[in-house]
């Protein structure tokens, strides 16, 4: 994991269910390099948000990060940090923006105060200086009349503005890693484009790595350097944007990409992935995608597929890919 900003190894998160503990994230490994955008893609319930929360150690009880998991940020073992060290890391080292900007701000405090508090949490600055910096970052994230808006309450702002405030709040400390959990899902399309453009600008400017969690391949194509596709708590395929979007090898990734409506194939039926995601805990014993996979064959049901390297950067966990790949 040398040279990596964030390294996650064998991360397993379990929740109690019917007598035992069910993994919702099952032994995933990924890395994020400094300044890189990694998109974590998958459908609802595949464990992508849980992965994000686990990195910040914010999994709420009764959920648990299993022993044997490793999370390394800037060479430090995150899972071994004391509570106070962990608090210092949150916000200053790793920040997170959430899906729902409408609910991410405290309704009874002015947005300026919330940004100022975020700043003063990690740095010793006077109120006046903090206010200046808050106004500066408001201006940077494109909030019109930044000084005036400091005294606004969340209910006086539009959804797009609230998301900008959220971004400002998370970026005042210039974190090295930003976890963005579906940052544009709750916004309408034009605002989405603006927020994505802003995120890309800020990411370049601050040389900040981003772990982008989304189910929207449009967003992936806009922002990501590398893509990891998750299914059923495991990573199905991982590679650069060109590799995963251009030459997907895992049947799940292929299915996902085929089910995106496109202007080129107008009029025809939209392809879909057959079946539905099995409920938590009723996964097949081998490959988790086996019940829905069009290429399913004999080892899929019983054996967990090994990760196959297709290039330096491109990996897929699939028996079918392994069969085609010369050892």
């Amino acid at each position: 994991m040398n040279g990596q900003l964030l390294g996650v190894e064998d991360l397993t998160v379990t929740f109690p269910a019917r007598g035992g503990r069910t993994p919702v994230v099952d032994g995933i490994s990924l890395t994020v390099a400094p300044g890189e955008v990694l998109a974590l893609v998958g459908e609802s319930g595949c464990g992508k948000s849980m992965t994000a929360l686990a990195i910040l150690r914010l999994i709420a009880k009764p959920g648990r990060i299993e022993p044997g998991s490793r999370i390394v940020f800037e060479g430090r073992e995150v899972l071994g940090l004391k509570v106070t060290q962990m608090r210092a890391l949150r916000g200053a080292g790793i920040a997170m923006i959430f899906q729902e900007p409408m609910a991410s701000l405290n309704p009874v405090q002015t947005v300026g105060n919330q940004v100022i508090e975020a700043l003063r949490l990690h740095e010793r600055v006077g109120r006046a200086a903090a206010r200046d910096r808050a106004a500066a970052i408001f201006e940077r994230v494109g909030i019109p009349d930044p000084r005036g808006r400091l005294d606004a309450y969340p209910h006086q702002l539009s959804g797009g503005l609230k998301q900008r405030v959220m971004i400002a709040m998370m970026l005042v400390m210039r974190p090295r890693l930003l976890i963005a959990d579906e940052p544009t899902t709750a916004l309408d399309v034009t605002v989405q484009a603006q927020i994505l453009a802003l995120l890309r600008e800020l990411q370049n400017e601050l040389d900040m790595a981003v772990l982008l969690i989304t189910h929207d391949f449009g967003v992936v194509n806009e922002l990501a350097d590398r893509v990891a596709v998750m299914y059923g708590g495991r990573i199905a395929e991982q590679g650069t944007r060109a590799e995963v979007l251009g030459a997907p090898r895992h049947p799940y990734t292929q299915g996902l990409l085929r089910s995106i409506p496109s202007l080129a194939h107008r009029g025809g039926d939209l392809e879909e992935i057959k079946g539905t995601v099995p409920s938590l805990g009723s996964w097949p014993a081998g490959c988790r995608f086996a019940t829905r996979c069009p290429k399913v064959f004999e080892p899929c049901d019983g054996q967990v597929p090994q990760t196959v390297s297709l290039s330096e950067t491109h990996h897929a966990a699939c028996h079918d890919v392994a069969r085609d790949q010369p050892e």
Binding site: L56, L58, K61, M86, R87, A88, L89, R90, G91, A92, A95, M96, I97, F98, Q99, E100, A103, S104, L105, N106, P107, V108, Q109, E117, A118, L121, H122, Y153, H155, M166, M169, M170
Partner: protein
């Protein structure tokens, strides 16, 4: 003991001015106050009069010239000094504005001076009614001072931390809720004594469960909200989250519960007085003592009428204000006005 009352009034005045200044600087509070003043002007004025009389009755000092029937070392409040109860007294009952005693018809010492008549001991009923204001405000205010922090402490810690703490708090709440309130109240007062402090404490102990349940439920909801999650993702500590994100978002519940509790407590004192464990000088005590007078012929109605009316008007005003306050502080109606 006169300094306690003076100190309380001073603290209340300072706190009132402070809150007023703070609220004036915040546009939303200013709007809420203006809306309240617009919608409940009359109720606010009357409540203000009650509070003013209560405060005048709490401010007291020693001296000020020899008054007949009073020890020179006794501290007397402003109300005492205005009414001079030891001077202007009769021998027995007299009707409002009467010039002769109700029974027997002997001439009064101070004819026409007793606006609400006099009671069996010849004391002025208006004076006693006004004295009752302080007791009523004390019961409501002091009990809430015990009750609200207790309810918040238990409710918020149970809701926020959950787990074992929640189990313990919920067990205590369920236990308290399953004991008949009045029984527990009487038992506590018997054990603690009948002083003002003790009665308020007992009322506080028996009354916190409702608010605690409310705040626990609301905290459970708030804890999962994204701004609390976001605060945690920013590295905010638990105490700070509770102080800055949970408690302020419970304030509407607390304000409204306070207003409703207040009237409930003033009324429940009447019931305690009926059972013989009320506070001295309270309206409950006046009503209790005047009960038998209703069965006399001709009826002696003014004592019970004065105390009941004073109680009724106070409770009505507070309820009207609380009702308007709930509408005004509700974020949904707030948005409609904006």
């Amino acid at each position: 003991m006169s300094w306690v009352g003076n100190a309380i009034v001073a603290v209340l005045l300072v706190a009132g001015v402070f809150i007023w200044m703070r609220a004036r600087r915040n546009r939303l509070w200013r709007e809420a106050m203006a809306a309240l003043a617009r919608r409940r002007r009359f109720a606010l004025i009357i409540l203000g009069l009650y509070v003013a009389v209560g405060m005048l009755d709490a401010v007291s000092w020693v001296g000020g010239g020899g008054v007949q029937g009073v020890a020179a070392s006794e501290a007397r409040s402003v109300i005492d000094r205005i009414f001079k109860p030891s001077v202007f007294r009769e021998k027995s009952y007299s009707a409002p504005f009467a010039s002769a005693e109700f029974v027997g018809g002997a001439a009064l010492t101070f004819p026409g001076r007793h606006v609400l008549g006099t009671d069996i001991l010849g004391d002025d009923v208006l004076y006693k009614t006004l004295k009752g204001i302080k007791v009523a405000l004390l019961i409501g205010g002091l009990t809430c001072l015990v009750l609200i922090p207790l309810a918040l402490l238990f409710g918020v810690s149970a809701g926020y931390f959950g787990g074992r703490i929640d189990d313990v708090v919920f067990f205590v709440m369920s236990t308290l809720a399953s004991i008949p309130n009045l029984l527990l109240l009487i038992a506590l007062i018997m054990a603690l004594g009948k002083g003002t402090l003790q009665v308020c404490f007992a009322l506080g102990i028996t009354g916190w469960v409702g608010l605690s349940r409310l705040t626990r439920a609301e905290t459970l909801k708030l804890r999962e909200l994204e701004y609390v999650q976001a605060a945690r993702a920013l590295g905010v500590s638990h105490p700070t989250i509770v102080l800055r994100h949970i408690l302020p978002n419970l304030s509407h519940l607390v304000i409204i519960t306070f207003a409703l509790l207040f009237t409930g407590l003033v009324l429940s004192e009447t019931i305690l007085a009926y059972l013989g464990i009320g506070l001295d000088g309270s309206w409950g005590r006046m009503i209790d003592q005047a009960r038998n007078e209703l069965s006399r012929d001709p009826v002696i109605w003014w004592t019970i009428a004065a105390a009941s009316a004073a109680l009724f008007i106070l409770v009505l005003c507070v309820n009207l204000i609380a009702d308007a306050l709930r509408d005004i502080l509700d974020p949904r109606t707030l948005r409609e006005r904006a």
